[in-house]
Point group: C2
Chain length 294, copies 2
């Protein structure tokens, strides 16, 4: 009895340690499950993609500065910049004409199957490639798909995910917003459009020595490049609709055999508009609603 | 003594609970300090800004889909889309011409003080406003600054932060990258350029009932808009350099009295190039390095 009594503190101590351990590990499990997506249909590759994105945007997009054009060489020589100069009248005319042309651009989901010269697409991509980028990394890959089978596989991947998105993942609010335009997850244009341009952002590059090279501001750079791409398409009378297929990135990357540093940012179906193409009758904000002069 | 012996387990239990509590609260403190920025010069508004950004990008940018144009009205009427059509030859010519023009664009940091007609800037901003946006939210505000005092205040804010960035915050790697181009934190163009365009992204909107309205993909939308803006500037012979002033957002927002839902995304000094403007002699990637055809 004396032995038992003198051992009691030890037992209690051991018990406390065990309780403490159990408490701590249950907390850890809680944290982990909070990190997982709240939807019940989470799949490994979905989480993987989101984690990748978060990492990229939170780590690399914070530590930046100017978009200095840098290259591998030290002390890159500087050359005079020989500009195009227009008179004030010419500038005004050109600015009005370009605005009028761009203002006719609309997101069009009814695309004609009529073939489009590949050379035109080449020039459009070349034009997109003139965009500035953080550290002159040019962190973009444009995958131009015209193969019917591949287009169809892309459609299957996207429609399957979209259906899940609409039905299970999205908040009521967003589904309601989309309903206004009678949109659903059937995306015929993915089969019909002569070209699908899948725009990948390169979250990092690989140096000759095998080390990773940070691509600062890759998402913003690639988005700017897409803006110039949209202008180039509009300039030749082609149409597209800017889409960002949700959760399809890893599957599409795998289908198109893109490397691990490339993440899908946008998918643009491209072609002539269908003869019966329609667009919602919406207006753009006035200049005074988007510009503040100081 | 018997009393003491029988109380011992109680003492040990209390001790364990105290130790457990201390252990747990030290962990909590650790987590909190990990969330804080690792640099030692952190200031309240720096953290605030980064938190805001993280929140926006992690919450809103994941739950998206197509960039459907939606408006406040239900069942928006659809109208026929009347496109511009060019012949194949015209398309090819136009695509080549536009590429040649855009390919002459360079990031120029030597800007002439020569005045630029404000009407031209208005048209350039109008053109940027034709960009597509998630949910047709048009989540951009372009603040065009020509007032000399305000420009100088902007310069002071940016140079002060840049100096800290260069000296303390940035990794050796990034400072090394910038050194290649002999860049430092002195930004004369902020005083000299006739216009500074500060591009703000609206992370959310305010509905008539006072509730917040999510702006899906606001950063990508505004970046696309900037791409079109760069094209519009190049089209009239004006130059700029794409900058993303690090950590200056809240101070500049406050200076320009922008509301809390607006975050600075980019700052573009705009004008004619200086007569002695120079640019680094860098090359762009070949088409085959940025395009993959499937």
């Amino acid at each position: 009895m004396a032995v038992f009594s003198s051992l009691t503190p030890v037992f209690v101590a051991v018990l406390c340690v065990i309780i403490g351990f159990l408490f701590k590990s249950s907390q850890r499990r809680e944290t982990r499950s909070k990190q997982q997506r709240s939807d019940q249909t989470a799949r490994p590759w979905v989480d993987e993609d989101l984690q990748d994105d978060t990492e990229t945007s939170s780590k690399h997009n914070e530590g930046d500065d100017d978009w200095i054009d840098t290259t591998e060489e030290e002390n890159l020589p500087h050359i005079p910049y020989t500009p195009i100069q227009y008179s004030a009248t010419e500038m005004l005319e050109r600015s009005e004409k370009f605005y009028s042309l761009m203002n006719l651009r609309r997101s069009v989901r009814f695309i004609s199957p009529e073939p489009v010269p590949k050379q035109v697409i080449d020039n459009v991509i070349r034009t997109a490639g003139t965009a500035p980028s953080g550290g002159h990394t040019e962190p973009w890959t444009f995958v131009v798909v015209s193969d019917a089978d591949v287009k169809h596989k892309i459609r299957e991947i996207i429609e399957e995910e979209e259906e899940i998105n609409y039905k299970q993942r999205m908040g009521d609010k967003w589904v309601h917003d989309l309903k206004k335009l009678r949109t659903n997850w059937v995306k015929e244009y993915l089969d019909v459009a002569p070209y699908l341009i899948l725009v990948f952002k390169q979250t990092y590059g690989i140096l000759p020595n095998g080390k990773k090279k940070t691509h600062y501001y890759n998402e913003i750079s690639v988005s700017i490049s897409c803006g110039i791409l949209l202008a180039a398409l509009q300039n030749v009378g082609l149409v597209t609709v800017t889409t960002t297929p949700l959760n399809c990135g890893p599957q599409l990357r795998s289908l198109l055999q893109r490397p691990a540093n490339e993440k899908l940012l946008m998918l643009l179906p491209v072609g002539y508009p269908a003869s019966d193409a329609e667009v919602p009758d919406l207006k753009r904000k006035d200049l005074n609603d988007i510009m503040v002069t100081v």
